[in-house]
Subunit: 355 residues, 2 copies
């Protein structure tokens, strides 16, 4: 996460959480659902997923008001076997669909050892990490993959944007250490980071995007003239493709040409697909023994000597965990441009602002 040139104002999590819930409720989301979504969006902000939390609220509300989200959904199981299910989200907010998918996955994993739950007719659900982390509640490992909501990635060597940033997140619990939480796009940068750079008036580093000639593209306002780059060249392309087939096609959700660009289109149902695998540790091993071994791996890695230019080695999710602890005390930073947008939204919805 990059920092802004001027220090943004800080708001307590309960303040942003309350604001998000008020805004969603004012847009027609039932009170209970608004609370669930606000809780998850705020958890994202607390963990430092600044492109996926309250930053997305204006867009979510715009989509709800345009009729592109079903605020009174009937979320149900479309397919079911002992170790799998497909949750049909009925075009609900993605956070709600994934909360349900996680509950189903954990129930089934408790019986089968492992369960794989896909979604269809879902929507953007924010940062991947929070969904992978849900099974931690029950001493389970979580593995989450989503089809991104706009195609910004061509196949390797191509120029047609048939793929998205399709992220993967995996959360593995430890005993005394924070959990290991990997959360990565299959592209070098997530598109949310491009949007944030544009909003902050910053240039992008070389390596995030190229233009249609294959040359580096660093102006985020010119993002429409180019594509994101996959990690590891053809490997990241392969990951994005496989993730799309498993989280999209297999679930009867959109992938490839069928993906709706939710930045350009507020009304067409996105038919977003995701999947969550819950792995019940106790089926594999003694839970405390496993967690202690994870502690051991974490500590060995953290103790590694460093290359020139590095102060220390971090574990995946370690910096997000530190942010979570700090922001729970200090508050969540809201950059001025975003704050202005949120105050404007409050006015439009006739609710009290962030204050």
């Amino acid at each position: 996460m990059s920092s802004t040139p001027t220090s943004p104002r800080l708001f307590p999590a309960e303040t942003t959480r309350g604001f998000i819930a008020r805004a969603l409720a004012a847009a027609g989301v039932p009170e209970g659902d608004a609370q669930v979504v606000a809780e998850l969006m705020t958890e994202i902000d607390l963990r430092g997923g600044d492109g996926h939390g309250i930053f997305r609220l204006v867009q979510y509300i715009k989509r709800i008001k345009a009729g592109g989200i079903n605020v009174k959904p009937d979320i149900k199981l479309a397919k079911e076997s002992p170790g799998m299910a497909i949750v049909d989200g009925d075009n609900a907010m993605g956070h709600l669909v994934m909360r349900r998918a996680a509950d189903v996955a954990m129930e089934k994993a408790a019986k089968c050892g492992v369960a794989w739950v896909g979604t269809r007719n879902s929507n953007h659900a924010g940062a991947a990490a929070i969904h992978a982390m849900m099974p931690l509640e029950r001493d389970m490992i979580g593995l989450y993959v989503a089809v991104g909501n706009a195609n910004h990635l061509p196949p390797w060597g191509g120029t047609e944007m048939l793929l998205s940033t399709n992220p993967l997140a995996v959360a593995v619990p430890a005993l005394d250490e924070p959990p290991v939480v990997l959360d990565m796009a299959s592209t070098v940068a997530a598109y949310g980071k491009v949007k944030m750079a544009a909003q902050r008036g910053e240039q992008m580093p070389v390596g995030w995007m190229i233009d249609r000639e294959g040359k580096p593209l660093t102006d985020p306002n010119r993002a429409d003239d180019g594509f994101l780059l996959p990690i590891g060249g053809y490997k990241g392309y392969g990951l994005s493709l496989i993730f799309g087939l498993l989280a999209g096609t297999l679930n009867g959700a959109a992938f490839g040409k069928d993906v709706v660009d939710f930045n350009a289109d507020d009304t067409t149902p996105t038919n977003t697909g995701q999947f969550l695998v819950a792995i019940d540790i106790k089926a594999f091993a003694d839970v405390e023994g496993f967690k202690r071994q994870v502690d051991g791996v974490i500590r060995a890695i953290r103790a590694s000597p460093t290359l020139p230019g590095f102060d220390r080695v971090f574990l995946p999710g370690e910096q997000s965990h530190a942010k979570f602890q700090r922001r729970n005390v200090d508050g969540i930073p809201i950059p001025d441009v975003l704050l202005g947008n949120l105050e404007k939204l409050a006015g439009e919805l006739g609710i009290s602002g962030l204050g």
Copy 2:
């Protein structure tokens, strides 16, 4: 795959398969097991996985003769739930352990929709793709991850080699098109490629390895002076770590400091861990309809216009599939140095050579 400066000799698959089986049997592997391993190793060579097929035979035999592999193993289930199992390989050749794991995974997936089977006390099993492809036999998707058998990767920013190339392979069937088969190390280059470059007397490209100062390392004979680089920087490090926790630690197999360098040590059991997930497509969707959709994705990707410098766009596994078809006709290329090593091996084992 890089090509050698001089054209290597070509051998029919049945010739190399027979040679591998003879060599393994002469080293004490029971006839039936030798056939299974020879079949899988030859499939790897046919698909172009030149660093993981017959190329590894000398090392496997050396290890068997040193007592580092159990040639009369009792491969059995150490843990079992409806949707998961851990196969204890009893220090058998990894190919045999994975063949069993795949059978168990498919049986369980046929009942539960999805099944996750881990291994412990396994060994190096060759190219990841062939294991991910096993479930294709039963119209299932395969997802395979392994802990690599030597640590060549430090955590991001570190210098202690606690991680390996830990590969991922995923195979998704299509209808008229070849299956999509992703097979990737979490490092830019697999260590097998470094070994092959050394054997061929070639330099490595910048980006494969760095030395302990963080500077590019391009001489494969100096590989011990540096480390492999992960794909996507910290993301590839995160993938390697997560794959190690899931394929190693969770299964009671080695990971991190406990990984035995099978290049340096021929006798200590490696306690290699792998896992295979079998996903039964019919639990999710109409099988033919799904495969037809995969065809559609493949064709849309293949039809993408290209960037300057690219002739066409390939699907993951497409070039391996083309090699498989070509090598089934033309034969498997064996570079001169490797051929010499295999003839020497034949002499030592008292068996007829490749001819």
